[in-house]
Symmetry: C2
């Protein structure tokens, strides 16, 4: 085991949903474990508390209200536990709660205005996927009004469309959407996760992420990383991506003298695109993701078989019950694979666009 954690000392406020009592690594449970395993001190602010419905047939989540979010944060402040270096925000159900989280981020920014770079907000604007919104409609404008305070945003392809107003149908419109986001909201760093567009430089079975850190004049510096898709559903991948990019961005920035003291950790205009900390961070994140998803996929069959072994014939014939077993197999196999998180082998390199 490496004696030195991958990241310098980092205190992170992680805002996301939380599954109260299950083995499943979803939402903040994934994010918190990944952040801690990479060496971050984490305060978890959970936006949803799931608990078991008394009918036993389902898990019932109760949303934390905007007021509760404010109270919880006030509690951290009162106990002198608000000295955060970074914040990662994920799934937040409801516009008021989004606004409350934005208020926290703005306050943390304001507190460090004399010391640029001291606080960095990674915002995953979770709203939907594949053309379908799965939050309330008013969450979209709530996120839009916060974008100018974020340092790095992590929309998927559909969320990038919602935020930029640009329909993404090819790489050209995708890069246009990124430039619009830089222009309109002055977002310093953008990563579009899981881009599923054909391109001449890779087979259709591959996905890509496209990222950019803007120049001092707001011009996009675009890179792309192509990686093979794993044909399998996993839960918690977005949360894992967010937690990993937080740590790897922090690590990459700490390796460039003085960069951590610059506003928004924005590299000099002379920095070649492929040497941008964001590009180097994204390479490591994707390496970890690919290794961990491969391991999870390999272990899935054994978990499903082991669980089916203890089921009655009637249970095995029940599609709903089989679905539960599949969900169990789709949990990210994090705890036995810390190596994938901390020391991944980089296989997929960033390319300039």
């Amino acid at each position: 085991m490496a004696t030195v954690p991958p990241v310098p000392e980092t205190r992170v406020l992680a805002v996301a949903s939380h599954v109260r009592t299950t083995l499943q690594y979803v939402g903040n449970k994934v994010a918190v474990f990944v952040l801690q395993s990479m060496g971050c001190d984490v305060a978890a602010l959970n936006t949803v508390q799931f608990s078991n419905h008394t009918g036993y047939q389902q898990w019932k989540g109760s949303r934390v209200t905007a007021q509760e979010i404010e109270d919880l944060y006030e509690g951290l402040k009162q106990s002198y536990l608000d000295d955060f270096d970074m914040m990662l925000s994920g799934y937040i159900p409801g516009a008021e709660a989004v606004t409350a989280v934005g208020k926290i981020a703005k306050e943390l920014k304001e507190k460090t205005k004399e010391t640029p770079g001291k606080f960095f907000w990674v915002l995953d604007p979770v709203m939907g996927d594949n053309g379908r919104i799965y939050v309330a409609e008013d969450v979209v404008p709530a996120y839009k009004s916060l974008l100018s305070s974020a340092d790095l945003i992590l929309p998927n392809q559909f969320e990038a469309e919602l935020l930029s107003g640009i329909q993404i149908k090819d790489m050209e419109s995708l890069t246009h959407a990124i430039q619009v986001l830089h222009d309109t909201h002055r977002i310093p760093h953008i990563v579009i996760t899981s881009v599923n567009l054909s391109a001449p430089d890779h087979p259709d079975s591959h996905l890509s992420v496209v990222g950019s850190s803007m120049t001092s004049t707001g011009k996009a510096r675009l890179f792309k990383i192509v990686f093979p898709a794993i044909d399998c559903y996993f839960s918690g991948t977005g949360d894992m991506f967010g937690a990993l990019i937080v740590t790897r961005m922090r690590e990459a920035v700490s390796q460039v003298p003085g960069l951590g003291d610059k506003p928004n950790w924005l590299s000099d205009d002379s920095t070649p695109t492929l040497e941008l900390p964001l590009a180097r961070a994204a390479e490591k994140v994707l390496a970890s993701m690919h290794e961990l998803l491969s391991k999870t996929s390999q272990g899935m069959t054994a978990i499903v078989e082991r669980t089916r072994h203890d089921m009655t014939e009637a249970e095995k014939a029940d599609q709903k019950k089989l679905q539960l077993v599949k969900s169990k197999g789709a949990e990210l196999q994090l705890v036995r694979n810390l190596d994938c998180l901390r020391n991944p082998a980089i296989e997929f390199r960033a390319k300039e666009m």
Copy 2:
């Protein structure tokens, strides 16, 4: 980083209190992180949900009721997530909740009665310390009635008195208490944590743990590990001890062919005391504890200074606020010191008594 986790694949149900939103590693937050870092899959069943009181001046915890504990467990069962190898139970406030947790343990035992050794319950009977009970009085008989279902119990010196009815004033009465616990409740494995008794073989600035795994006829096989006390208050040490002994016991048992299939993981009568898995596990646990507490103690001043730096003079003069800052410094420094957990150097060896 070691590529292989210290323990074989292990699914653990961890029952303890939970701090909902704070940086502090207390209760199940400590236990879950330590278990995960050692390679265990963990389902956390939290007996207390702390949240911030709207008055901001304190954290308010709400107890989970016995019914809620049963419901949460029922939910795990319905989702086929109850295939646990081990269970660790810690702080449970209230006799009814203790009984509900005991019912879960008994059910998990019953489920594996055809496959001895398949389920192992580590019970930390949290009731009090230094002569003072800090749970409801009826928690004591509730624990007593469960002892015969536990595989390993982790009372401190005072809790061992409460459970055995023997007043512990020296090493002789301590070992008598252990024999009584073996005799009365057939508890296979016992570790008395933090024994603070003078003994001719160590200076008074040292503490010890005393453990025993009984023979087939219920006779204690006693060992002692002496270690230097660190003069400092830390929070969460009991939870850390519990989580570490779960993993190290599992590891030590897995290294003895066939032992994992024996009822209660009880070693042959021919096994020398110092080769008992419990003795070997306890050595590793204490090594980890000592390294981690030393690191925490070293880092404490810097945390307190850094926090004081941001305080106003009025705040610095407020004893209550200074206490909050001290609490912050007393948090176990877990995330940056995974090495202490996974690869501790064993300094303090078990001795036969």
